[in-house]
């Protein structure tokens, strides 16, 4: 059955090639960083929890000592620009992902359905690469040299989402959620429904801003305010309180540099001088939307 294993093997192979190309240009820090990622994708399930932890420390050491600081090289000269057919090639990946996600449902024995989208995405990349080689006839290394240029531009920020997910696991183990819950509970005026709704929604947004991920905030705020106050004391509808509360957290995601993959990585990808430029453009949407979510909670959650 094709599932995450195959996807990770392809990812491991790509990072291996990137490591090799970095070695060729004597960028040792980059080579080490990509080689560790290749190891993680190839052998992450076999090196044990502590082994994975050591691998992370290796990544952090390389990034922390500034070994990824060397600027990426500028865009290569265009060999010979192509016409609008280039769009068709660009659409191969989304189209394959879309068709694959829908079509694999009829092949449950071939593809792990829970991973159908990631498998289709990987397939789309391979198809697009094949089309690119056949049509454009670049040198074999060109896609990876150009891919390396994009990856170097993003820098170490692209493993940050994975790192934050791991931090969330340590927080859970240490019981951070329970402590925050106690604090928030003490801050709400006794018996005030509106105060509890505000504390719940703002707490979701604020904790998401700190953690960079609404998934980390949800269990904390649900245990702290959602369940004991909104659902048990005020008899709120659990579906509305959960669903709209999560979306209040998403408003926080729009506001925080901790959500690196959504806010910092695009800024790097788009060569913005202001690394918080994307967040700045999101503030005027996120704040009114947070207000709407509070109103939805208060207006519909306690019918």
């Amino acid at each position: 059955m094709i599932g995450l294993g195959a996807v990770y093997a392809v990812a491991g192979a790509m990072f291996m090639v990137l490591a090799g190309l970095s070695l060729r240009t004597r960028r040792w820090g980059h080579a080490g960083f990509y080689a560790l990622l290749a190891l993680s994708f190839f052998a992450g399930d076999r090196i044990g929890d502590a082994g994975n932890g050591a691998l992370v420390l290796g990544l952090v050491a390389i990034a922390g000592f500034g070994l990824l600081k060397r600027p990426p090289r500028p865009v290569a000269d265009l060999p010979e620009p192509r016409g609008n057919a280039i769009f068709l090639a660009a659409l191969v990946i989304p189209a394959t992902t879309l068709i694959g996600t829908l079509a694999f449902r009829w092949l449950p024995s071939l593809v792990d359905l829970k991973q159908a989208t990631l498998v289709s995405l990987t397939l789309g990349v391979l198809v697009a690469l094949a089309v690119g080689y056949a049509w454009l006839r670049p040198r074999p290394t060109t896609p990876f040299v150009e891919g390396l240029r994009l990856m170097d531009a993003i820098g170490s920020a692209f493993v940050l989402p994975q790192m934050l997910a791991s931090l969330g696991a340590v927080f859970a183990l240490a019981g951070v959620g329970t402590v925050i819950g106690g604090l928030a509970g003490a801050a709400i005026p006794h018996g005030s429904l509106f105060g509890a709704v505000i504390a719940y929604a703002l707490g979701m947004a604020l904790f998401t801003i700190l953690m960079g991920n609404a998934f980390a905030a949800f269990p904390v705020m649900m245990a702290a305010i959602g369940l004991p106050l909104l659902i048990r004391v005020h008899h709120g509808d659990p579906a509305i309180i959960a669903a709209v509360g999560m979306l209040a957290g998403f408003c926080g995601t729009l506001l925080t540099p901790m959500a690196a993959n959504f806010n910092l990585v695009p800024a790097a990808l788009l060569d913005l001088k202001d690394r918080h430029g994307v967040i700045r453009q999101q503030v005027a949407t996120a704040l009114p939307l947070l207000g709407v979510n509070i109103a939805l909670l208060y207006g519909f959650g306690f019918a």
Binding site: S40, G64, P79, P81, A89, L98, L160, S166, L167
Partner: protein
């Protein structure tokens, strides 16, 4: 109370602009030690979660393809396409993208678009070209940032309508832990009002950008 020290580390580390990866690891270490965990237990917990969340980084597989196509003029063609389109204002272009992104995300198609897949190669150059034709200053960073912002808003306020998504399953799982059984559908239907509000609020900002650019142009002439 002591376990909150890790959160202080995060906030201080980011404000002082230390390397983000370093800040995260130090925060994990401080939190774990404050809770009385052994260093090895912290390392193992961190490593285990890192390994379990590798799927987050799979989206970067598209990078060689995008790099190759850029090298053969993808961004230039995207700009050319919009320049040839009459009446395609930056606001309407981004509004159409917002709607498309929300609808596809609501169908569970999250990875078909994104900063690397669509924003950098297509949306940002198209939006910049349109805005410049409407009189925006050349190379305005804000337009590119707005393109990325529009992608985020469309994704966040579309994906929760899809019933098989991670966040829906997370909510269902946590509530089930408290003895409250819900169907994913009950949760996802309550993502729709916020999705509509997101479309109206962000959409209004996009159309207002068109008016602002038009106003600036009339002032100048």
């Amino acid at each position: 109370m002591l376990v909150l020290a890790g959160i202080t580390v995060i906030v201080a580390g980011f404000l002082l602009r230390f390397n983000p990866l370093l800040v995260v690891v130090v925060s994990a270490a401080v939190t774990g030690l404050a809770a009385g965990l052994s260093p090895l237990a912290i390392l193992a917990a961190f490593g285990k979660a890192f390994n379990a969340s590798r799927y987050v980084s799979v989206a970067y597989l598209v990078v060689p393809v995008i790099g190759l196509l850029e090298c053969y003029g993808l961004q230039t063609r995207a700009r050319g396409l919009v320049e040839a389109m009459r009446g395609a204002t930056v606001g309407r272009l981004l509004l159409a993208y917002l709607l498309l992104r929300q609808i596809t995300a609501a169908m569970g198609l999250i990875s078909i678009a994104g900063p690397a897949q669509t924003v950098r190669p297509l949306l940002a150059p198209m939006a910049t070209a349109a805005a410049e034709r409407q009189g925006a200053p050349e190379g305005d960073e804000g337009i590119r940032a707005l393109a990325a912002a529009t992608d985020n808003v469309g994704l966040f306020f579309g994906e929760d309508i899809f019933i098989a998504l991670g966040s829906i399953l997370l909510m269902k799982g946590i509530l089930a832990g408290y003895g409250i059984e819900l169907m994913p559908f009950q949760l996802s239907v309550w993502a729709i009002p916020s999705a509509v509000a997101a479309f109206l609020i962000h959409g209004a900002r996009l159309l207002w950008l068109d008016r602002r650019l038009a106003g600036r142009r009339t002032n100048r002439t």
